[in-house]
């Protein structure tokens, strides 16, 4: 069965770049979200088993989204994909329950490495 992947980023370009970086041959069903609120709705609707989440976004940013996922005990493996690569941002998202952190810009190698590491692939 195809894995439900949710890609959440305010940039259309970043969403596409993320989708293109997913490993070839991985059977996925991709949903896109433009901000945290849309992401939460998609996860509720069962579209986000694996979530690639950006941090700096309008409406609801990545930190708030993670908090919501944690508080509401939603079932989603969240990997943060962000340009904010400061040590503190990394620590903060891990504390909020993200399984890992990928530095932007994303590419195939980075995505595959992390998906394998967590046994998702």
């Amino acid at each position: 069965m195809a894995t439900k992947v949710l890609i959440c980023d305010d940039s259309n370009f970043a969403r596409k770049q993320m989708a293109r970086s997913l490993p070839d041959g991985w059977e996925v069903d991709i949903t896109f979200a433009g901000n945290g609120e849309e992401a939460l709705q998609a996860i509720k609707a069962g579209q986000g088993e694996v979530v690639f989440l950006d941090l700096t976004m309008p409406v609801m940013d990545g930190f708030e989204t993670l908090e919501n996922i944690k508080v509401n005990d939603m079932n989603a493996l969240v990997i943060v994909v962000s340009g904010d690569i400061q040590p503190e941002a990394r620590q903060r998202v891990k504390n909020l329950g993200a399984i890992d952190f990928i530095k932007k810009p994303i590419n195939k190698a980075k995505a595959e490495l992390i998906l394998k590491e967590y046994g998702i692939l």
Partner: protein, 206 residues
């Protein structure tokens, strides 16, 4: 001959510039965070194609009544050229001097050191981040002090601009827990925008 160039940036391209800036400013912020042991609050970069005489409007992060200091630095490479402007709200210097740990009284010359140190990091790292993503190399000219303790309008309007349009990327940096506010403005020359768009289209395609 000063022919009006018909430059355009589509919504898709604008989004791509914004994302590229987002990644580049993150890299710059990371360096600053490591040097100062602070957390830099990252904004969403603002990308606009604007008339050069509307430049003042691009500096939305700083109020016009504030006294400011600024430096600028030219860059060029692969048919793309422009200028980076770093503008500090003068009220920021108190807190920056605490962070950069220079001894001595905060005077105009110490402020200049702080301004140059921050400019070296933010401008250098941002330009490198953008260049890497676009797969180009920029060489940087020597920074020039635009002015210290001046009115924002005097700082950006003193010149006779040769371009009419510019692609402006504004990044407003703030540091968590400190009263530090600076605006980094990357201005791409009108005749560079076509080359830039080509690079961006290449990213959008593949």
């Amino acid at each position: 001959m000063n022919q009006a160039l018909n430059v355009k940036v589509t919504e898709e391209q604008r989004d791509c510039y914004q994302e590229i800036s987002n990644v580049a400013m993150g890299q710059a912020a990371d360096l600053l965070a490591r040097l100062l042991h602070v957390h830099v609050i990252l904004p969403i970069p603002v990308v606009n194609l604007l008339e050069v005489n509307e430049l003042r409007m691009a500096l939305s992060g700083i109020e016009s009544s504030n006294s400011v200091s600024g430096v600028c630095q030219g860059f060029i490479g692969n048919g793309i050229s422009g200028e980076a402007l770093l503008i500090f709200n003068d009220a920021s210097f108190n807190d920056i001097s605490k962070l950069l740990k220079y001894g001595g009284e905060l005077d105009t010359s110490l402020e200049l050191e702080l301004l140059m140190d921050t400019a070296n990091i933010l401008i250098g790292a941002c330009l490198r981040g953008i260049a890497e993503q676009l797969d180009v190399v920029f060489s940087q000219g020597h920074p020039i002090v635009l002015g210290q303790h001046v009115n924002l309008n005097d700082l950006v309007q003193a010149n006779n601009y040769r371009w009419s349009k510019t692609l402006a990327i504004e990044i407003n940096y703030k540091i968590e827990g400190f009263d530090i506010n600076c605006d980094l403005l990357l201005l791409f020359a009108e005749d560079s925008i076509d080359s830039l768009n080509e690079k961006v289209n290449f990213l959008l395609e593949d």
